[in-house]
């Protein structure tokens, strides 16, 4: 009996654990500088297969620069970066063949019609014309734009353009999707539609990496995230873990009739005692970070202080974010 010698060789069995543990994206000491300005100042990131990972941060935190480096269009200034285990500087083309990119600004071609945008883009990935056409129809249905296939791009609303951009990013059936502020500038309906589609992709096993400055977006979509501020990572974890670590379970917002919130802070702190971990003074209200917001509010009124309004709410990522990156306006 003839034996194929190749069958005798020990087969390399893919180690499922190594496969899942090897990060899809791995950055160590990653730096991006433009002249004297350092946009990204040495960050370490690991993104695992199948997870939804977020870069959260105010404008100018270095999120987009990081995304462009991961997307293999912007060479790192220093540090190490691997995407699918490949170096973006030497294997940019191979990396880009396997990822989908949804940039911050829509780069839909206005000279082409809606469907043409997808077909032509698929060709850049080396797909056959027939594959491109089939993919285009499939994706238009996925983002609910089938009826707009032959429309001009100008005819689309902002939300539709975004969906088309997302559809285009999926034309090569990527396992990794990079989304730079996917819902910025969209109305609530459009945002929810985009979130729902992204959630579906995640369920199909697509790894999502997104940047956002919307806390609700990060809480909705991300399994894990890093908070960036001025080019550095200032916190890392799941949304829940970050809230637990940097905030309290609840926040009580107190508004008083007169504007002297700063003057009242001492009295309020005194009344709540250790019921609140922290009292933050804002021009128009006081925030009590407490595990039991109702109890803190009750202590305030028992102490003879009577705010005009009391709001007890769950602590959100926004509280974490503002605590970590400050409340001052970033231009």
């Amino acid at each position: 009996m003839a034996v194929n010698p190749r069958q005798l060789r020990p087969q390399r069995v893919p180690d499922a654990r190594a496969e899942t543990q090897e990060p899809l994206i791995r950055a160590r000491g990653l730096v991006k500088s433009f002249g004297d300005f350092e946009a990204v100042r040495g960050i370490d990131v690991d993104v695992r297969r199948g997870e939804a990972f977020g870069f959260l941060g105010p404008n100018g935190a270095g999120k987009s620069s990081t995304m462009r480096m991961i997307g293999a269009v912007s060479p790192p200034s220093a540090g190490e970066l691997r995407v699918f285990g490949l170096d973006p500087v030497t294997h940019g083309s191979q990396i880009r063949a396997r990822i989908g990119v949804c940039p911050q600004e829509d780069t839909i071609d206005v000279e082409l019609r809606v469907r043409e945008n997808l077909v032509v883009y698929g060709r850049f990935f080396g797909l056959s014309r027939a594959e491109c056409r089939a993919r285009a129809d499939e994706l238009l249905a996925f983002v609910s734009l089938t009826d707009w296939a032959d429309a001009t791009v100008e005819a689309l609303s902002g939300g539709m353009k975004r969906r088309l951009t997302i559809a285009r990013a999926l034309v090569n059936s990527p396992r990794l999707l990079l989304l730079d502020e996917p819902t910025t500038g969209l109305d609530p309906q459009a945002r929810h539609l985009v979130w729902e589609r992204l959630f579906r992709l995640k369920q199909q096993g697509v790894t999502l990496v997104l940047t956002t400055h919307y806390m609700d977006e990060a809480e909705q979509l991300c399994d894990r995230l890093v908070v960036m501020d001025r080019g550095k990572i200032v916190a890392e974890g799941s949304p829940r873990a970050l809230i637990d670590r940097y905030s309290t379970r609840e926040v009580t917002e107190l508004r008083f009739a007169d504007d002297g919130h700063a003057d009242l802070a001492g009295a309020v702190t005194d009344r709540v005692g250790n019921l609140a971990a922290r009292v933050e003074v804002l021009p128009d209200r006081l925030l009590l970070y407490a595990n039991d917001g109702e109890a803190a509010a009750a202590a305030v009124s028992r102490g003879g202080l009577h705010p005009t309004s009391v709001l007890v709410r769950r602590s959100s990522l926004e509280d974490v974010f503002l605590r970590l990156t400050g409340r001052s306006l970033v231009d």
Partner: protein
């Protein structure tokens, strides 16, 4: 060859514009040849001053040079607004380099399209020249078209570099008025540059378009020599090569920040 993956993109873009371009590339040279070659030419020929233009009729003198001039204009127009638009208004290039295409492929793709536009425009012009009786040999005519396309590239490639460094379109007005128009008028297509003051004549001889005009005319009216071909073609290639180096740098600087 990754650049070839853009064929369908450029074909789709071209499908929207080709009818208009074919009509204009036929009609405009008819206007020029009728007005300048035939109309003005009648006075020039009657004045008996054809010795300075090598004993040719003025129509035969002007016609071939029109190939080089048209190539220059087509190339510069196709390499200014369409390039800047893909950087700043439409961001098509940015979308392209998010795919396996590299900056170099994007540049090759767009330049390839410009070459296609040059070939069709110059081919149509050759037909017009033949209708006016300027072209006597198919081989010479096709050779002149090839030279004109090279002239176009000698302008297109540096124009890509120029356009890639613009933040808005105000630089183009300057380029058209101070670059294109003088080169159009003083390229030697309408009168010999030797008629110009010596210093200006030498500037004219440094422009790629003068080399194109001379070579196209020599090819179509006869009397072309090998050293002339080598010299003119070599000089035009130099513009293409240096232009390519500048264009690739400018594209990288802008796209791979």
């Amino acid at each position: 060859m990754l650049a070839l993956r853009q064929v369908d993109y450029w074909a789709t873009v071209h499908r929207r514009v080709w009818r208009g371009t074919v009509v204009t590339s036929f009609v405009v040279p008819v206007f020029y040849l009728a007005a300048i070659g035939v109309g003005l030419g009648r006075y020039v020929d009657a004045a008996g001053s054809t010795a300075a233009i090598g004993g040719l009729s003025y129509l035969d003198y002007v016609g071939p040079g029109l190939l080089a001039i048209t190539a220059m204009q087509t190339a510069v127009f196709e390499s200014t607004y369409p390039v800047l638009a893909r950087f700043i208004w439409q961001k098509t290039y940015n979308a392209m380099i998010a795919t396996p295409l590299r900056v170099r492929d994007v540049l090759v793709g767009h330049l390839g399209y410009v070459v296609l536009r040059l070939v069709t425009t110059c081919a149509v012009l050759l037909v017009v020249l033949a209708l006016f009786g300027v072209v006597h040999s198919v081989a010479a005519g096709l050779g002149a078209v090839a030279v004109a396309v090279l002239v176009g590239l000698a302008f297109a490639v540096p124009s890509f570099a120029f356009s890639a460094r613009q933040e808005n379109d105000s630089g183009f007005a300057l380029l058209y008025r101070l670059g294109l128009i003088p080169m159009f008028l003083f390229s030697g297509a309408f009168f010999p540059v030797s008629q110009l003051p010596a210093a200006i004549a030498w500037i004219a001889r440094l422009t790629p378009v003068w080399h194109g005009v001379e070579l196209c005319r020599a090819l179509i009216t006869g009397g072309v020599t090998v050293p002339a071909v080598v010299g003119h073609v070599g000089y035009l290639l130099l513009w293409v090569v240096v232009g390519w180096w500048l264009a690739e740098r400018a594209f990288r600087r802008r796209l791979e920040r």
